[in-house]
Symmetry: C2
Subunit: 176 residues, 2 copies
């Protein structure tokens, strides 16, 4: 099954990646955008908030999550709490959107979650962030073949963003 | 700095991988083995237990962890608690050994943690296990360059074990 026509797409996140996804999709599809500051609002670290969002939005053909918070610290300062915060903020949160949102996605629809370049190109202070991205990508690789009703699950891993010049010095030589 | 001579090595775990590490190392090095059922005992999901182990064992040149528990379930049955249990049982636990054991390891020494084939070759029911292995490997890639005093950090990812025939059917064609 595929959705060659106009789709109903939920994008969670209004940052650099969410805005780019919206700009790419809204001309051809019905796009609903949600973040902590929209109506309806959603905080994906709160499972009840995710559930409430899907109850409000109803059935969609695709869900794109582009949010995730991870701490950056030198390794010597990185605590177990920091690692747990990165996993909760970027990995378990996006997986919760997939799990809780599954009944609301049409047969043959899709989930797209957002990882990042640090999974393959670590920088100093990125151990928690790299771990989170690596966890998410590996989860997606393993879980995608078990998704029901022809629903696809993919991770997109942006490189360093042209719109984030504050990170460019750490990624010398990267295309943007 | 390197340790070309006889080293003092702590191996945590007495399962298939821990036993193989011990067999390979004990002829040439002073090997201390610890698990939940040895004296001294250790449970690496308990940070106080890890601390007590290192206080008892004292300074070592290398630490090898070969333990980790992860749940295996069909994706439809996999809960957030299962994912958290896999991360606590195999990822955060081995990282805690590195963090807590760091002051006890000599300059130029090493930590070796154990990941597994499911990080690159998922099987049905392995989403939590694959995620855990992927998280651990990515953490190690990112954290290793930030380790102090020339201490190395590596992950070893065993393929399916000859000594685990119950898993062979899921890995048809794999060398063992």
């Amino acid at each position: 099954m595929c959705h060659a026509g106009r789709m109903r797409i939920l994008i969670i996140g209004t940052g650099h990646v969410g805005s780019a996804a919206r700009a790419a999709l809204e001309a051809s599809h019905d796009v609903i955008v949600a973040s902590r500051s929209t109506t309806p609002a959603v905080d994906i670290t709160d499972q009840a908030s995710i559930q409430a969002l899907f109850e409000t939005v109803g059935t969609v053909d695709a869900v794109v999550t582009t949010v995730g918070k991870v701490p950056f610290k030198p390794l010597a300062d990185l605590t177990r709490d920091d690692l747990e915060a990165g996993l909760a903020g970027k990995v378990l949160s996006q997986i919760d959107v997939v799990r809780i949102g599954l009944p609301y996605v049409t047969d043959g629809g899709s989930f797209t979650v957002t990882s990042g370049v640090l999974a393959r190109e670590p920088i100093r202070t990125s151990a928690a962030a790299s771990m989170a991205n690596g966890a998410l990508e590996t989860y997606v690789m393993a879980a995608a073949p078990e998704m029901p009703r022809g629903i696809r699950l993919n991770a997109v891993s942006p490189s360093v963003l042209a719109s984030s010049p504050q990170h460019h010095a750490a990624f010398a030589g990267f295309p943007r």
